[in-house]
């Protein structure tokens, strides 16, 4: 079965740059780009939703089918 990739939406208006999503992503998908978090390697995403769950600022949405 072909792997379907999620869409990781980062709302920069809400992001406060706390690094939590970047540090606790088990697959190193995210990185800090300047002040905000951004997607570095979407291919590696396993849709574990840890970033969405842990973001204190409601700034990440992992949209899967």
């Amino acid at each position: 079965m072909e792997k379907t990739l999620p869409k990781i939406e980062i709302i920069e208006k809400y992001c406060k740059g706390c690094h939590i999503c970047v540090e606790f992503c088990p697959k190193d998908v995210l990185e800090m780009k300047g002040f905000y978090a951004s997607v570095k390697n979407l291919e590696a995403c396993i849709k574990c939703m840890q970033c969405e769950l842990r973001c204190p600022d409601f700034a990440i949405k992992v949209i899967t089918e």
Binding site: E9, K13, Y14, K16, G17, C18, H19, I20, E23, F24, M49, E52, L53, R54, C55, P56, D57, F58, A59, K61, V62, I63, T64
Partner: protein, 273 residues
């Protein structure tokens, strides 16, 4: 699929005021997931708070909310519950608001066993007012009013609640985000006074003074100290030194609930003419 938090958030209220990395946002998400999983109706749910960082939470949630005087959340919430016993009343607040300034209200709400849920976000300090030490600041730790280390021993909120008569007591941490909604949902469903203590991080006023280099270090500390209740049964006293138990710590379904008992008093008074 991404969880839709927006349906429980008041439009235009985000971004919230909490500092970067503050765990209160994680707890708020847990509360929203818990309310959503129980299909609570917005008009039948009241979120009540006192004053403090954590007590800003009801301002963001789209249901019946009440932001009251410092430490008095339990008193106002008791009023709401007595007037409308069918409502789901959820109290939120911090450790300073709940156990110091509102300490008396807290223990007496526990004693009455009134059917409400109190979520205490314990970040070990008074954050909003400038980092003064709270009753939960660990011994030796620094705050703006204890620059040479806090001489007081801290409160164990869960033990305090059990001792005061609460019938459901649970503890989670902001690191274990997945567990928060389950604990809160179980607490809301419990008939009686339920207390959920969530160990939290305050990077701005607590972390900086106590040599935590980053939010991540504070989160990892929560991960290290937390031990689930079941795992703790197999551990020795030495292994549990410095650890904190998490999960459902106490549950008692036998104690009478206050609004039901009060309804009986009303019946007796009516019959006594």
């Amino acid at each position: 699929m991404a969880f839709d938090y927006d349906k429980w958030i008041r439009p235009g209220k985000l971004p919230h005021i909490w500092c970067p990395g503050c765990g209160h946002g994680i707890v708020m998400k847990g509360l929203i997931r818990a309310m959503d999983s129980l299909n609570l109706k917005k008009e039948e749910t009241a979120v009540v708070s006192g004053i403090g960082c954590a007590s800003r939470l009801p301002g963001y949630i789209d249901c019946c909310t009440l932001h009251t005087a410092h430490g008095r959340a339990a008193a106002f919430a008791t009023g709401v519950k007595m007037a409308k016993p069918e409502m789901n009343v959820i109290l939120v607040g911090g450790d300073g608001d709940g156990t110091a300034i509102g300490g008396n209200h807290f223990i007496h709400a526990c004693r009455r066993n009134i059917n409400m849920t109190y979520i205490i976000m314990n970040n070990y300090i008074y954050g909003m007012t400038g980092g003064q030490f709270s009753p939960c600041t660990p011994t030796g730790h620094k705050a703006s009013t204890t620059p040479y280390g806090n001489p007081d021993p801290g409160f164990d909120i869960a033990k305090l609640a059990i001792g005061a008569g609460a019938t459901f007591v649970a503890r989670g941490t902001a690191f274990h985000a997945n567990q928060i909604d389950k604990l809160i949902a179980e607490a809301i469903q419990h008939k009686g006074f339920s207390v959920v203590e969530i160990l939290d991080d305050c990077p701005t006023t607590y972390g900086r003074r106590n040599k935590f280099k980053s939010v991540i270090e504070m989160m990892n500390r929560l991960k290290e100290v937390a031990v689930p209740v079941k795992a703790a049964e197999k551990m020795t006293a030495e292994q549990l030194q410095g650890k904190v138990l998490t999960g459902v710590l106490y549950k008692d379904d036998t104690k009478p609930e206050y609004t039901a008992e009060y309804a009986k008093v009303i019946e007796r008074a009516k019959a006594a003419k």
